[in-house]
């Protein structure tokens, strides 16, 4: 066997996996999105592009809401996650592994179960709100569930490690002498952070933003469990169209639209942040 072929052969399982479980379903989905018909009389391929226009028109609000919630959750993750990553990387010393484990510990529990647990915690008469109401600190009608903030914070909670880990990875391998060099060159603590640590960690921030924003925007569990009728996200619509209304072309068209929007967003973000940073490279 020619040694040159070995790397390709080793990559073969991955290619097969990607082909069978990603590319094929994607093509199938694309085909479905262009069909017309209904469940009783069957679907036929008519290359009907109108489904896209109709679906986007009808669920424009949910689509925009998804991007808004996803973006807000990403922002919350960044604000909470950066200090966490910074602290673990710079100040946790030898217990860094322990703190990372703590951060990931909730992930040993099913995603849905965790969200349902939040539903229980934040219920109108649950442990938090009920207690606060009994203590007279909150008015009787106060509620958290079924509101946009509940969904956003649910998303932020669910995807926080996706923000923390890439930032941590960059900060952890940063040469501490860079900070000393900044201090040596007359930068105070704040200036050393703003001029050296923060710019240095931007590749990690970029990766974290992407890894949080993409799944958060297309999530449907949080909106379903923690939200209400007013917080439906595009993921919920797709789920309903597929599983409840059996409107397969509409669901498929919405799926592709979401993908296209996210890809365009990533592309724009990549151009703004610089491709070098996206790749985590540093010349």
């Amino acid at each position: 066997m020619r040694p040159r072929a070995v790397p390709y052969l080793l990559a073969l399982p991955a290619w097969l996996w990607l082909g069978v479980f990603f590319v094929l379903p994607l093509c199938g989905m694309l085909s479905v999105s262009l069909m017309t018909g209904d469940l009783l009389s069957g679907f036929t391929q008519t290359f009907h592009l109108g489904t896209y226009a109709e679906a986007v028109q009808r669920y424009r609000v949910q689509l925009l809401r998804s991007l808004l919630y996803g973006g807000s959750a990403t922002l919350v993750c960044l604000v909470i996650g950066y200090p966490v990553a910074y602290w673990i990387a710079f100040h946790a010393g030898r217990s860094r592994g322990g703190y990372l484990l703590l951060l990931l510990l909730p992930f040993f529990v099913s995603f849905v179960l965790r969200t349902v647990a939040w539903q229980f915690v934040l219920a109108d008469d649950g442990v938090v709100l009920g207690t606060l109401k009994d203590a007279g600190l909150l008015p009787e009608g106060a509620r958290v569930l079924n509101s946009a903030p509940a969904v956003v914070f649910g998303l932020a909670y669910a995807f926080l490690p996706f923000m923390v880990l890439p930032i941590y990875a960059v900060l952890d391998r940063m040469d501490r002498r860079l900070v000393e060099a900044a201090r040596d060159l007359y930068a105070g603590r704040a200036a050393a952070f703003l001029r050296v640590v923060l710019p240095y960690s931007l590749p990690g921030v970029s990766a974290g933003v992407l890894m949080t924003f993409v799944p958060a925007s297309s999530d449907y569990v949080n909106a379903a469990v923690l939200g209400g009728p007013g917080t439906t996200m595009i993921g919920n619509v797709i789920q309903t169209q597929f599983l409840v209304n059996n409107a397969y072309p509409t669901a498929a068209a919405l799926t592709f639209t979401l993908m296209a929007v996210l890809l365009l967003g990533i592309l724009g973000y990549a151009l703004a942040a610089g491709t070098e940073r996206m790749a985590g490279g540093r010349g």
Binding site: E180, R183, L185, A187, R282, G283
Partner: protein, 393 residues
């Protein structure tokens, strides 16, 4: 801040304004202990050191001797657990690095990878709010000085090791610090480049006229570059002096062995120094040599002879020794080094139990005789003024 157009003139005046004649750097009774779990580790114990303005000062010692900790205490990255650090007469103990008039060239340079070379060099000036036009001019001048003008807009990661080294130098020197601290500045370079950078560093120091403190584990580097050097071991300074002084007259056995090959001999003074200043010393193996010492009869002394001071010749080629010390031995090893051959000679009757090994360097000059083979009987001679008596180690 000086606004002269000549960077060298600026460096000479900057930061040393408070008093011109005192030391640029002064450590007084400085100690540093680290807590490591339940035990404490002493990196530096009671250190006194003074570096004169404009001096090229080297701190040399084996790894773990406390030399880097000492440098970091001058830079402000570590606070001493005892003692005082003064820069240009001002007590800076407890003052953070950004408020000290010294700059550091870090081991492996610590260049900011996300900034261009020019932005790296401009960093300190910008933090000090120097006007943009002046920043541009001084960065340009400095890049000229280290011959890096062509790569000003590149990222440091794209430069060779030698170029990165010069960026690190430029980034520190552009601020015209009262003193420049260099932590193993040549350690990351390959040997050929290291030789070239020694000359380059000396040239820079002459041109800028700043005080340099250079920390290294390489005694050859310290001897070659420093105006004065301090040899450290075990958290203490063992000897301070000019390179020739430290090499020719090492203070103790450690310094003798660390700065060049030691050729250590131990013996007892037999008769105290006569009119010529030399005492007769009975070596532990029975042979007798002469050395300058004030010690009286019966005193135990250590003495060393540097390898290039000893003359080696085949036994039988007896010549006039003119009162020189004479030992006889057998060549055990000969290593040809190009300009010189390094012989290891086994000398019977020089050590108490076993024969002593002496290292002898013989220049392969036109006048040198035929090479001596391993196993050859040889005679070693050296004038008594080169028997250097050591203090207690």
């Amino acid at each position: 801040m000086a606004t002269t157009t000549d960077p060298a003139a600026g460096a000479r005046t900057a930061g040393t304004a408070s008093d011109g004649d005192g030391p640029a750097i002064e450590l007084e009774g400085v100690a540093k202990t680290y807590r490591a779990g339940r035990s404490t580790v002493t990196a530096v114990r009671h250190l006194d050191l003074a570096v004169a303005p404009g001096e090229y000062f080297a701190v040399v010692g084996p790894s773990g001797c406390g030399k880097t900790t000492t440098l970091r205490m001058i830079g402000g990255f570590e606070e001493p657990t005892a003692g005082t650090v003064r820069l240009a007469g001002r007590d800076v103990t407890g003052v953070p690095p950004d408020r000290r008039d010294v700059n550091t060239v870090f081991q492996s340079y610590a260049l900011f990878p996300h900034m261009s070379v020019a932005d790296n060099v401009a960093f300190g000036l910008r933090r000090r709010r120097v006007p943009a036009a002046e920043v541009r001019r001084r960065v340009g001048d400095m890049l000229d000085l280290v011959e890096l003008t062509g790569v000003a807009s590149r990222r440091p990661g794209r430069l060779s090791g030698g170029q990165q080294q010069r960026v690190a130098l430029a980034r520190a020197l552009v601020n015209r610090p009262g003193a420049l601290l260099l932590d193993e500045p040549l350690g990351a370079l390959d040997p050929l480049l290291r030789q070239a950078m020694r000359a380059e560093l000396k040239r820079l120091q002459r041109e800028v006229g700043a005080t340099f403190v250079h920390v290294t584990h390489d005694q050859g580097e310290a001897l070659a570059m420093a105006d004065r050097l301090a040899v450290m071991a075990g958290g203490r300074v063992r000897q301070t002096g000019a390179p020739a002084e430290v090499y020719e007259r090492p203070a103790d056995r450690f310094v003798a062995g660390f700065v060049g090959a030691a050729n250590l001999l131990t013996g007892t003074v037999r008769t105290s120094a006569g009119g010529d200043g030399y005492a007769a010393v009975d070596l532990d193996g029975g042979q007798r040599v002469r050395a300058a010492t004030a010690a009286g009869p019966g005193a135990r002394i250590d003495l060393t002879v540097r390898p290039e001071k000893i003359r080696i010749a085949a036994a039988g080629t007896e010549g006039p020794d003119g009162g020189a010390n004479l030992l006889r031995g057998t060549v055990r090893d000969a290593v040809y080094q190009g300009p010189a051959t390094h012989y290891t000679v086994l000398v019977a009757g020089a050590g108490a139990a076993e024969p002593v090994e002496l290292v002898v360097h013989r220049q392969n000059s036109a006048a040198a005789g035929p090479a001596l083979r391993v196993g050859a009987e040889v005679r070693l001679t050296w004038p008594p003024e080169h028997s250097h008596v050591l203090g207690p180690a």
